[in-house]
């Protein structure tokens, strides 16, 4: 009955026999993984080597002082109190005061500086990861939940940070104490020292037994936390839909499910990692019993003096304490490694490749050619593919892409901006293959208005200036005026200094589009890509900004996607797409005269 009662406090195990078996087999590989991960963290820590050395010095000083204190007190008791000779006691106590002050100061300084190093390391890893995000190809982000990636930046980093703060000093001072005690013990009795050290292999094996389990558990725990984070992010960003469909309860249930996964892993991680200090305690006691037992018998036979055993048993206890600390730290290190591994996996992802790296910034004229270009997003699941696309745009021309949704219009733009690279065919800009032009060079002369206008949590002014950071306030206002955004901006209480929030109600979707058009106007590019730039704007306003857009397109190569065929009536070239293929292309008048697909679309739109 007790058993069944107890069972309700125990969760179903997370680890399977296979897990443990495989970790046994992978023993070598795993150890080298750990070494690699630790090595990489160390490399960042090591950047502050000078400070690190000073810290180590402080640790040595504090270790010596903390041994010196008790030694001097022992001397006071022996020399003064027992002998009842109190001359010189005052100066001894004075020395002790200095020792203790020194001890406090050295402890303070080592911790103070170590915090600096730890935080700097985490800072470097954080910014490194963030910079890495910027260099990764778009395709990388398509597959991953935002919240999951965010978790690596905060929750995983937190593990590393707290471990670095405490572990480093602990490990070092434990090693010093360990070596010191060992030397003293050895000088007293090599035999007993040997006996005491018998527990080390046992300690090693049992720690291995535990860490073989915790290593995997910590990793799973971080994964579970990441996936929970992903779910929270998604539900929160999609809150309107959750509410509109009254799916709150289901979301709560789903959350509880994921949350209970985390609970189960966390439980076992706690249980296993908690076993280490307890095992160490047991081993300590065993070691003491061995020393006392064997030592006692040896003493009876006269091999060692009784005094030696008494003092030695004290040292044996001291000997195991740092070992205990070390094994405790080992667990912390493992949880940090679990976090760091997740960070480094991303650091090792393949970046956007650039053949044209290092090339000088070159003026782009804006001749665009697609030669037999084919592309699919995901080779396993072919959604939104384009096939054998051929077209040529001369500098300064405006091209309109029309066709049903999902025909591949946006894909063409994304290829031109090199968010993705085509699997077949080539794209030429000014007769150069696009791969030979660096992304930097290419995008610096392009401006984009994306289908979904994204604005940052910043002021309106900063959001418009995003197109060109050097733009003056006047430039910003001018662009806003051209984009017909000035009036509504001025009607906001803080005007251009209004801070936008991610999902706030302060401005409408159409107004967001106006701002992103203003942003493109500020950029002053050679190639302009407008992807449904005006879809949420009312047509009267659109008509008003049409002129500005046309002026903007003048002299620049522009690619325009629009469902409202009015929007593109001045295009030089019209490309009609259907299911990823180019089915008609040519000048507007010619296409109308041809009475083909475009003509039909036009007909329908004016019915």
């Amino acid at each position: 009955m007790i058993k069944s009662k107890l069972r309700s406090y125990i969760y179903e195990p997370v680890l399977t026999k296979e897990d443990i078996q495989s970790s046994k087999k992978r023993k070598g590989a795993r150890a080298s993984d750990w070494r690699k991960t630790l090595g990489r963290i160390w490399k960042i820590v090591d950047e502050q080597r000078a400070l690190l050395i000073i810290i180590l010095l402080m640790v040595v000083i504090s270790s010596i002082l903390s041994l010196l204190g008790p030694y001097l007190i022992g001397k006071i008791i022996d020399d003064h109190m027992i002998k009842k000779d109190f001359t010189g006691l005052k100066s001894m106590i004075l020395v002790l005061i200095f020792v203790y002050i020194g001890l406090s100061i050295s402890i303070f300084l080592q911790n103070y500086w170590m915090i600096g190093i730890a935080q700097q390391t985490v800072y470097r890893m954080r910014t490194g990861l963030f910079a890495k995000f910027q260099r990764l190809p778009i395709a990388f982000f398509d597959k991953r939940q935002h919240g999951e990636l965010m978790s690596r930046m905060t929750n995983d980093m937190d593990n590393i940070s707290s471990t670095l703060n405490s572990t480093f000093i602990q490990v070092f001072s434990s090693v010093i104490t360990l070596v010191g005690t060992l030397v003293v013990m050895f000088s007293m009795s090599p035999l007993l020292t040997f006996l005491t050290m018998l527990i080390i292999p046992v300690m090693f094996v049992s720690t291995r037994w535990i860490t073989r389990r915790t290593g995997k558990l910590f990793k799973t725990q971080q994964q579970a936390l990441g996936s929970l984070n992903g779910m929270i992010e998604e539900t929160i960003s999609g809150q309107r839909v959750v509410k509109a469909f009254s799916q709150e309860q289901r979301m709560i249930d789903e959350f509880a499910n994921k949350s209970s996964d985390l609970r189960r892993v966390g439980y076992w991680a706690n249980v296993y990692s908690g076993a280490i200090p307890k095992t160490m305690n047991l081993l300590n006691n065993t070691s003491f019993a061995i020393v006392a037992g064997v030592g006692g018998i040896l003493a009876l036979k006269g091999y060692v003096s009784i005094g030696t055993i008494v003092v030695f048993s004290e040292y044996a206890r001291q000997f195991t304490r740092p070992l205990n600390d070390l094994s405790n730290q080992f667990n912390n290190v493992l949880s940090a490694i679990a976090g760091a591994e997740r960070v480094f996996t991303i650091m090792d992802e393949k970046e956007e490749q650039d053949q044209g790296k290092g090339e000088l910034i070159r003026e782009i004229r804006g001749d665009v050619t697609f030669e037999d270009v084919s592309f699919q997003y995901n080779l396993e699941e072919d959604i939104a593919t384009i096939e054998h696309i051929n077209f040529h745009v001369k500098k300064g021309q405006t091209v309109a892409l029309v066709g049903a949704t999902g025909a591949g219009k946006t894909t063409i733009m994304q290829l031109l901006a090199r968010f993705y690279d085509p699997q077949q065919g080539r794209i030429l800009i000014d007769d150069c293959p696009i791969q030979t032009i660096s992304r930097q060079n290419l995008r610096s002369q392009m401006a984009f208005v994306l289908q979904e206008p994204f604005l940052f949590e910043a002021t309106i002014k900063e959001n418009i200036r995003y197109g060109r950071l050097q733009a003056t306030d006047d430039d910003v206002v001018n662009a806003a005026k051209k984009a017909n955004a000035h009036n509504f901006i001025m009607s906001l209480p803080n005007g251009y200094d209004t801070v936008l929030t991610a999902d706030g109600g302060e401005i409408s979707q159409g107004q967001r589009q106006l701002l992103s058009i203003a942003r493109a106007l500020v950029a002053n590019p050679a190639i302009l890509l407008l992807d449904e730039a005006t879809s949420s704007i009312d047509t009267v306003t659109e008509l008003e900004i049409q002129e500005a857009l046309e002026r903007l397109m003048e002299g620049r190569t522009s690619l325009v996607i629009a469902h409202r065929l009015n929007t593109i009536r001045k295009a030089d070239l019209i490309l009609v797409m259907e299911k990823g293929k180019l089915i008609e292309s040519g000048e507007r008048e010619k296409l109308i005269a041809k009475k083909g697909v475009f003509y039909q679309m036009l007909q329908q739109s004016t019915l």
Partner: protein
């Protein structure tokens, strides 16, 4: 803190068991020196091997007992801590789900995410630690103090001199550091926000080559976090050295005055040695103390942040409000009566004095300039925001009296931005109605004109939707979210400009297919074509309803409408109209 304690209390039993097991361990640990003394004094010194074996084995047995107690403690402590965190997380999530949109917007989403994961973890860790080791340090200190007094009260009193000073000092430190750690968590929010923003805007950042700029912006946020974390942690580092100095000076005082007492013959050396020994034990535990204080302050800061959410009383949706209407008598009807609205914490009215009504099965188009309040009008019907002036009747009943769940159950809302979730296309369509059959799904997708596209995908309905639907075109996303809405067979369909990315042919097919649903439809649109297909049109101008009628009526009466219509005349084929 009280609210959080409620969650701890639930696991009273396992906490008590865990603590008892910890006491067992502690008791064994404290008796050990006595046993060792016995082995040495009565065994080794006297040369009694029998005694050595006897007490040696007793000691081993006790050690084994402590070991077992320690292992069992892990189970109970783990159970309590993990369940506590689990309950807390779920409670927070549940609370967040019950927020009204207005409350929701008060918290940046990144901050909510931090509170639900990072903050919970902080508190949980401290809770687990306290069930295992935390109480040990205070107990050792207390035990040693009692023992010291027992040995010689006149000397032990020196140990107490420092205590009031230390108590005040520690109190101040804790108070200050809680504020500091709250600041740290706030900075974690900022970091989170910045990453979220960049992930969402990745294409934009890349298109405008702002990678380095973003990195430098992030560096500012990250270095603020570094600075605050460092100074919060560094403040805590004052505790240990100061505790050490005070304790060590007290010990030296004992030695000094003890020496005097020995001279007078009041005390013997053994007592002094014992008190010094106890003092050293206390000092040893103090470094643990500093650690505990740090953890506690951190946990307290996190707990406060969670309570901020848990304690919100206003701005909660009353989902379970008893519905007063069992069988609505005016099915499919929406009436606006003098509705005015402004967003919370703003002064500007977005909608002013709107009145109109629509009958069952009617299709109303809503048009108007950018920012004229079209989306807001729809969001009032779904009760995302509360109407303050005027009232809205749905099925003849004021929406304030509607059971929120029933109300929303009867509405199919298609938002302006198609929000899709991680999962397959099938998951996304059945998202609002998980029990839908395959046939229903096929029908809804056919109606939404997305069936053929789905069939063209290699994996059909099982195709995975990338993060927020990146692998789908704008129009595909819109049609998926339309399918999701009509699958529920709602009485009302609200389209918030959600056909903007559809080409003409697809759109007309969509409207035709929806006719059989007989739902009352409110359609925000920019396209005159769409408006023409509606029964009546609402024209909004700066939040005011400036015209309401059929296409023909509006063409005749409204200058603005005429202007809109003209703007959309296709110049080339004008004659065909």
């Amino acid at each position: 803190m009280n609210t959080i304690f409620q969650y701890i209390k639930r696991y009273r039993l396992s906490i008590i068991i865990a603590l008892m097991l910890m006491f067992v361990e502690l008791a064994v640990e404290l008796t050990q020196p006595l046993l060792i003394r016995k082995i040495i004094d009565e065994g080794i010194v006297v040369g009694e091997s029998h005694t050595i074996w006897l007490w040696g084995s007793i000691m081993m047995l006790l050690a084994l007992l402590a070991f077992l107690a320690g292992i069992c403690n892990s189970f109970f402590a783990g159970y309590a801590a993990q369940n506590f965190a689990y309950d807390l997380r779920n409670a927070l999530f549940k609370k967040v789900q019950s927020f009204t949109m207005a409350t929701f917007l008060q918290f940046p989403s990144a901050s909510l995410i931090t509170r639900l994961t990072n903050d919970v973890t902080q508190v949980q860790q401290v809770f687990f630690m306290s069930l295992r080791i935390m109480l040990r340090a205070p107990l050792v200190v207390l035990g040693s103090l009692i023992m010291a007094f027992y040995v010689d009260a006149s000397l032990a009193i020196y140990l107490c001199i420092g205590i009031p000073v230390l108590a005040v000092f520690m109190y101040m430190m804790v108070k200050k550091s809680i504020g500091n750690f709250a600041l740290v968590q706030h900075k974690v929010d900022r970091v989170n926000r910045m990453i979220q923003e960049n992930l969402q805007a990745m294409r934009l950042v890349k298109a405008y080559l702002r990678g380095l700029y973003e990195v430098s912006r992030f560096e500012k946020v990250a270095s603020a976090l570094k600075k605050d974390t460092s100074s919060a942690l560094r403040l805590m580092e004052y505790i240990q050295p100061i505790l050490l100095i005070v304790m060590n000076i007290a010990m030296l005082a004992i030695l000094w005055f003890g020496a005097g007492q020995i001279q007078n013959g009041k005390t013997n050396i053994g007592d002094i040695a014992a008190i010094v020994n106890y003092t050293m034990r206390m000092t040893g535990s103090f470094s643990m103390f500093a650690f505990i204080i740090t953890l506690f302050s951190r946990a307290k800061a996190s707990a406060t942040r969670m309570e901020e959410i848990l304690l919100i009383k206003d701005g909660i949706e009353e989902v379970v409000l008893p519905t007063k209407i069992e069988a609505p008598y005016k099915k499919g009807e929406i009436v606006f009566e003098n509705v005015s609205f402004k967003y919370p914490q703003t002064d500007r009215y977005v909608l002013k004095n709107i009145s109109f009504s629509c009958k069952k099965g009617e299709k109303i188009a809503i048009m108007g300039a950018t920012g004229s309040g079209k989306s807001t009008l729809l969001q009032l019907i779904t009760k995302f925001y509360e109407v303050e002036e005027g009232r809205i009747l749905v099925d003849g009943v004021d929406i304030k009296e509607w059971n929120l769940k029933n109300l929303r159950q009867s509405i199919g809302y298609v938002p302006q931005r198609s929000l899709l979730f991680t999962g397959t296309i099938f998951d996304n369509i059945t998202w609002g109605k998980t029990k839908a059959t395959k046939e229903e799904v096929i029908k809804a997708t056919k109606q939404a004109q997305i069936y053929d596209s789905i069939m063209d995908f290699q994996n059909g309905y099982q195709t995975r939707v990338g993060q927020k639907g990146v692998n789908l075109s704008g129009g595909q996303k819109q049609r998926l979210s339309i399918a999701r809405a009509i699958l529920r067979k709602p009485e009302f369909l609200l389209f918030d400009d959600s056909t903007s990315a559809l080409d003409v042919k697809t759109e007309s097919a969509l409207w035709k297919a929806l006719e059989e649903e007989q739902a009352t439809m409110l359609v925000v649109t920019q396209k005159i074509r769409t408006a023409k297909g509606a029964d009546r049109i609402i024209l909004l101008e700066d939040g005011v309803l400036s015209a309401f009628g059929t296409h023909k009526e509006l063409i005749a009466s409204s200058i603005l409408y005429k202007k809109i219509a003209q703007s959309q005349m296709e110049l080339g084929v004008k004659g065909d109209d």
